[in-house]
Symmetry: C2
Subunit: 221 residues, 2 copies
């Protein structure tokens, strides 16, 4: 039942976006609770929410009474508790490859360009919007150059990051591409990334997870 599963997220959070994709790929229904990361100093810092998620970050997934934090741990949990369709391939080498691709995004791109880091370079270095944009372009380009090489050079890459089934790496890649577009990062040098992003974009699981489809997204103008 949907009410047994609640996702605390934010429409534009990459980490929440990943979890939405994974839930959708597995056909798992869930209820959305919006945590507005910017309004009134950030609802993620409210005591009730920090009691669930001591980091004061999104997402948090409540699943049958269990409180789960950290998006990548949540993806692994969903894959263990609802194995089909799988987010990871069956063989150890394939799993290592998919996790490594996912972690290029989840460990080496996204954390450095997260909202709180952008806010902090404003606080510590008085960075203005142009400098924040420069920061984003640098880190996305650094990560995407490596990711493009990893994807373009491997025979394991298929229609998606690994073969012809969307999985964990795609669930990380698509939100990062969305985020890069938001920051106007030039993406012309990453044809394989763009091809995979486009292949995912036509799938309902990804389309329904898009930020603009979430109940807390601002109305389109």
């Amino acid at each position: 039942m949907a009410s047994d599963r609640v996702l605390y997220g934010y429409w534009r959070s990459s980490a929440a976006f990943r979890v939405r994709i994974a839930l959708n790929l597995k056909g798992l229904r869930y209820e959305t609770r919006a945590i507005h990361l910017v309004r009134e100093g950030g609802e993620q810092h409210a005591p009730d929410y920090v009691a669930l998620n001591p980091q004061g970050l999104v997402p948090t997934l409540i699943d049958g009474g269990r409180v789960l934090t950290q998006s990548m741990a949540i993806l692994e949990y969903l894959d263990e508790t609802h194995p089909q369709p799988a987010l990871l391939p069956a063989d150890a080498a394939g799993r290592a490859r998919v996790r490594a691709l996912a972690q290029v995004v989840a460990c080496d791109i996204h954390p450095i360009g997260n909202l709180r880091v952008l806010q902090w370079i404003g606080t510590q270095f008085n960075a203005d919007d142009e400098q924040k944009s420069h920061w984003m372009r640098h880190w996305v380009a650094t990560g995407f150059q490596a990711l493009e090489t990893m994807l373009a050079s491997s025979k394991d890459t298929g229609r998606y990051c690994h073969g012809d089934t969307p999985g964990m790496a795609d669930a990380c890649l698509v939100p990062q591409v969305y985020n890069a577009r938001r920051w106007k990062v030039p993406l012309g040098d990453y044809p394989t990334i763009l091809r995979i992003d486009a292949a995912c974009a036509v799938l309902d699981a990804f389309r329904d997870a898009m930020p603009e489809q979430q109940p807390d997204a601002p109305p389109r103008t």
Copy 2:
């Protein structure tokens, strides 16, 4: 055989340190190849190394011909290919908890304080050593406050991060504590973290993985 397994690392890299701990916990022998991250512009950018690891980061593990990158993916791989002793508990909820604890470090503390980010705040914002230290203290404190709460408030925490067996979360925590000490981050507010770090410090698997024990560490003065 040791020669079937080669770890490309750097004595002071937190991510390589994690993999050394995991290999030691499992009793897996390996040969060390040092990639000096600072000397001559960084050996990690040399074409031969980037051919193995397109990100130009450490560690890279060669295991029986397989090239593995991303430390957290490597830990999962080692746990799948050499299940005993396990780095993760057997139950899905416990596994989710351990991965979340590990990822507080691996996704939300370490990447923001990594060498390349510190170099970049020097490049983009002319940050001096004192400002770099301030940056480190801020991000370690932010992460450790949450981690301390997560560890201190859970009955699942034991002698180590999860029960009385060292595992994946400890393999991430100990290198981050080492790194925090190096940057003189005050640690008095994190008694549970310090207690677990001390419990790990007496184990051979952790002691042998310490930066100062590595062949590429500079001679002690």
